[in-house]
């Protein structure tokens, strides 16, 4: 009986909000101060646990946005009927405390010492762990070619919009719902033809990381396999629908 309770005390750590930053009206980045936090790898996530005064608890997972060398930060999108994300985006202030568990993930990670080209495919807030990878690449000075294919609804929904242009990676946006005047980029959901135009050639032996909703991830991964990519070179992370 005491077993799982003891392990729980070892895994959940207190996280204090050191800063909040608005990326888009619905998406905020929280920089966290966590005593006892080790290091993390680009692509990993952490779990957040909120406890109400009457003991009610809710837990959600959020990808770590920061590169391993930078202060720990998560980026959270407020979901319409969410239970945790509205709290983290709308209510939380500097100094607030909640619990975190992690870092978690040994599969959807990129450490920066791999030389192969890296294709990142992001659907909406799926860009968060991929941003950690792009930031990490810049920090460690990796010369592995990296390209991000990023699907968003509108230009205003693009997270990290300005910073993405400064990281020394190719960024290809597709805006699926609405485009700004003069937009000459892609305007549709990712399909085989778009992938063929944007992705590295399979012959280059690229690694792929795809993150977004389940539907987005499965469609992109299947499309890349049809392009000749080795399925084992494609790493995926499906984001939850609940928030």
């Amino acid at each position: 009986m005491a077993g799982t309770a003891v392990l729980g005390r070892l895994t959940w750590l207190a996280a204090t909000v050191a800063a909040t930053n608005e990326e888009t009206p619905r998406v905020h980045t929280l920089t966290l101060d966590v005593a006892g936090w080790g290091c993390h790898r680009a692509g990993q996530h952490l779990d957040v646990r909120l406890t109400a005064e009457d003991g009610y608890q809710a837990e959600r997972s959020y990808s770590i946005a920061s590169a391993p060398g930078d202060p720990l930060a998560i980026t959270v999108e407020r979901l319409e009927d969410g239970e945790v994300s509205p709290y983290l985006v709308d209510d939380v202030a500097e100094g607030d405390v909640f619990e975190v568990r992690g870092p978690i993930g040994g599969y959807f990670v990129w450490d920066g010492d791999e030389p192969e080209p890296v294709l990142l495919v992001a659907g909406g807030s799926g860009v968060v762990p991929l941003m950690a990878m792009a930031r990490h690449r810049a920090q460690v000075g990796s010369t592995a070619p990296m390209r991000l294919l990023y699907s968003s609804r509108t230009w205003d929904d693009v997270i990290y919009r300005d910073e993405l242009a400064t990281l020394g990676i190719d960024v290809v946006h597709t805006l699926t719902r609405q485009q700004p005047p003069g937009w000459s980029g892609y305007t549709r959901r990712i399909d085989d033809e778009l992938l063929r135009e944007v992705a590295f050639s399979a012959a280059d032996g690229p690694r792929v990381y795809v993150c977004g909703s389940t539907r987005f991830v499965d469609a992109a991964a299947d499309g890349l396999v049809r392009l000749g990519y080795d399925p084992r070179s494609i790493r995926t992370e499906r984001f939850g629908a609940t928030g």
């Binding site: 799982t4 392990l7 779990d47 568990r101 959807f108 909703s213 389940t214 995926t236 992370e237 499906r238």
Partner: protein, 86 residues
Amino acid sequence: MTVEERVLDGNAAGGLLLELFGVDLTAAPCMCGGCGAREEVARLDVYVDCPGVVIRCRHCRNVMITIVRGPERTWIDLRGTSMMEF
């Protein structure tokens, strides 16, 4: 959103498995007791919208792992997994 759209992958169970096993299992290969397929936990289908966590083989849909957390006890059923390597 349909069930098909809400199904996640082993990354989503990573924190829970870390807490229960003390090890990050997301990259741990598992063999399905139903069809013999060998995949990392991150490549399994994970259902979290139910009274527990149910992890299924992506190839044959066999239930590989079921985890139920009560207030004081946890139940883990690994019958559908013939091997985990970590």
